[in-house]
């Protein structure tokens, strides 16, 4: 049994996510008064044994920073925005216009990062809502810091059967980072997603 997406389905999701992160980028630019560009160049589905590869792939640095939110609807997912730790510090401090460099993010900086994650994740989900004409409830954003396998419950079967992995490129003047959006979901949510994508494709055909 395969859970993969066809090329067409994949392209549709990439487009929907790019509309979402595009909106997120414009609200973030507005907040910090500097041009910010976000894009999602690729989407992959990882399941079964491949999930272990996901850990390796997602290990961007010894420790990663993540912001997570749970989305509940006819497609439910636990969504994570993940960036390497050091780069995250750089971006948060640039957005806050602050030069003091302690090793750990302060409480206020963590909250700012949670908001950045919240803006990006919400924009992706509202873009999905628009495309699929469905809606989601969601939890407030939570901040995580640690090794990849500590932050992401990838190997916990109760946390979902598979994960959808989106590459995300974040750039602002003189700073560029690559991160990931990860959606952990159950098989039934994934099937619902595929069905919605197909309907979306029919709608635009």
């Amino acid at each position: 049994m395969t859970f993969d997406l066809s090329e067409l389905q994949r392209d549709a999701l990439i487009e929907i996510f790019n509309i979402g992160v595009g909106q997120a980028a414009s609200s973030m630019s507005q907040i910090v008064g500097e041009p910010i560009v976000l894009s999602v160049p690729a989407v992959e589905i990882l399941y079964g044994d491949n999930r272990a590869d996901a850990i390796n792939m997602l290990t961007l640095s010894p420790r990663i920073c993540a912001v997570s939110q749970d989305f509940i609807g006819n497609i439910s997912a636990r969504a994570f925005l993940i960036f390497p730790e050091g780069k995250t510090r750089e971006i948060v401090r640039r957005m806050l216009g602050d030069s003091v460099s302690t090793d750990e993010l302060s409480e206020m900086e963590q909250e700012a990062l949670s908001e950045i994650g919240n803006i990006i994740l919400n924009s992706c989900m509202s873009s999905l809502s628009d495309a699929f004409q469905t809606s989601f409830c969601c939890t407030p954003p939570a901040y995580h810091l640690g090794a990849t396998d500590e932050v992401l419950p990838i190997n916990d079967p109760q946390e979902g059967d598979l994960l959808m992995l989106c590459h995300i490129d974040f750039s602002m003047p003189e700073a560029q980072i690559n991160g990931y959006l990860v959606f952990l979901m159950t098989l039934s949510s994934f099937n619902a997603l595929v069905k919605q994508v197909d309907q979306f494709l029919l709608g635009i055909a």
Partner: protein
């Protein structure tokens, strides 16, 4: 039976409303059209707007400055999509006009705001805005940050003379060396050492010795001309001066100025064999960074020039040359 249920329901409604009024955060509920539906007591107190004025008004008409703001789009995400948003204090500077004392609207409260949706029984999205006053936490963090900055500054300052220490000089020289290499500019260093300082200390005592070091540090500082010039206490009675974008002749002229400044202090030093007062010997070295000289080599060249200045009789400036003649 029906009356009991109605009474119980009315009681529940009354208690829940009273609770929402009494909680120690701001709570606003908007209906699906964005009209204020509930405005709690905390908000009445901090905004000066009574619920009677606020309820029934469109939220964005009551606060027109919020049109097109992040808060407005968070409200839209809750009403349209049912999404939850967090507005952090650091990225959103006090969006709502809330004050410790609204009759004296001096400084807005620092706010952390949560926007969530509430689904009504017929499936409409309402919006709950929760406002936390985090002014105290912000103040605390600012204080911690200032202390951290101060500590960091102290780690780079020589305790006795108040000028930068050797660690600061090493980092500064490395930074300036890279900058000079990028912009292809010369960079010079001067090493300076107080003549016969040990005898001074022995003869006049350590307190006088400390005072002498402080006066000389200040004299060197006063002789520097540009903000990028840096003097550091390098060791006991030794000072190092970094001169970015300065060629050899400029550095040598400055070194002689410093020498004169110190001589003019006329600090009596009877056991000095030089002049009877405290004097400095100085060594100067200079490079164009494309000469592939390391910053360490530049420093040791200045040091060997300083050594020559001592040999030649002290109270003088010696310029480093490839094949120096004694």
């Amino acid at each position: 039976m029906e009356t009991t249920d109605t009474t119980a329901l009315a009681e529940k409604f009354y208690i829940c409303t009273a609770a929402a009024h009494k909680i120690n955060i701001g709570a606003v509920v908007l209906n699906n059209a964005g009209e204020i539906w509930f405005w709690n007591r905390w908000l009445e107190e901090k905004s000066g707007l009574p619920a009677g004025t606020a309820v029934g008004k469109m939220f964005l008409e009551l606060f027109p400055e919020l049109n097109n703001s992040r808060l407005a789009s968070a409200i839209n995400a809750a009403l349209k999509y049912g999404l939850t948003s967090l507005l952090s204090q650091s990225l959103n500077k006090a969006p709502l006009p809330l004050f410790e004392n609204p009759s004296n609207r001096k400084e807005r409260l620092q706010q952390a705001i949560h926007v969530t949706s509430i689904e009504s029984q017929n499936g409409e999205h309402f919006c709950l805005i929760q406002v936390n006053d985090i002014s105290l936490a912000v103040k605390k963090e600012r204080l911690l940050r200032e202390q951290a900055e101060k500590l960091r500054g102290l780690a780079y300052i020589d305790g006795l003379t108040g000028i930068p220490n050797r660690r600061r000089m090493d980092e500064y020289l490395a930074d300036e060396f890279r900058r000079a290499a990028r912009s292809n500019e010369p960079i010079s260093v001067i090493m300076a050492d107080i003549d016969h300082f040990k005898q001074y200390n022995d003869g006049y005592g350590h307190q006088a010795g400390d005072f002498c070091l402080q006066r000389i540090a200040n004299a060197i500082k006063a002789a520097l001309r540009r903000p990028a010039d840096l003097v550091a206490r390098y060791g006991g009675e030794e000072f190092a001066i970094v001169l970015p974008d300065t060629p050899m002749d400029g550095a040598a002229a400055l070194a002689d100025d410093i020498r004169k400044h110190v001589e003019n202090l006329s600090i009596t030093h009877e056991t000095s064999e030089v002049t009877g007062c405290v004097t400095l010997s100085l060594g100067v070295s200079s490079t164009l960074p494309n000469s592939r000289l390391s910053e360490g080599a530049l420093l040791s060249q200045a040091d060997s020039a300083l050594y020559l200045a001592k040999l030649k009789g002290r109270n003088r400036v010696v310029i480093y040359r490839e094949h120096p003649q004694v």
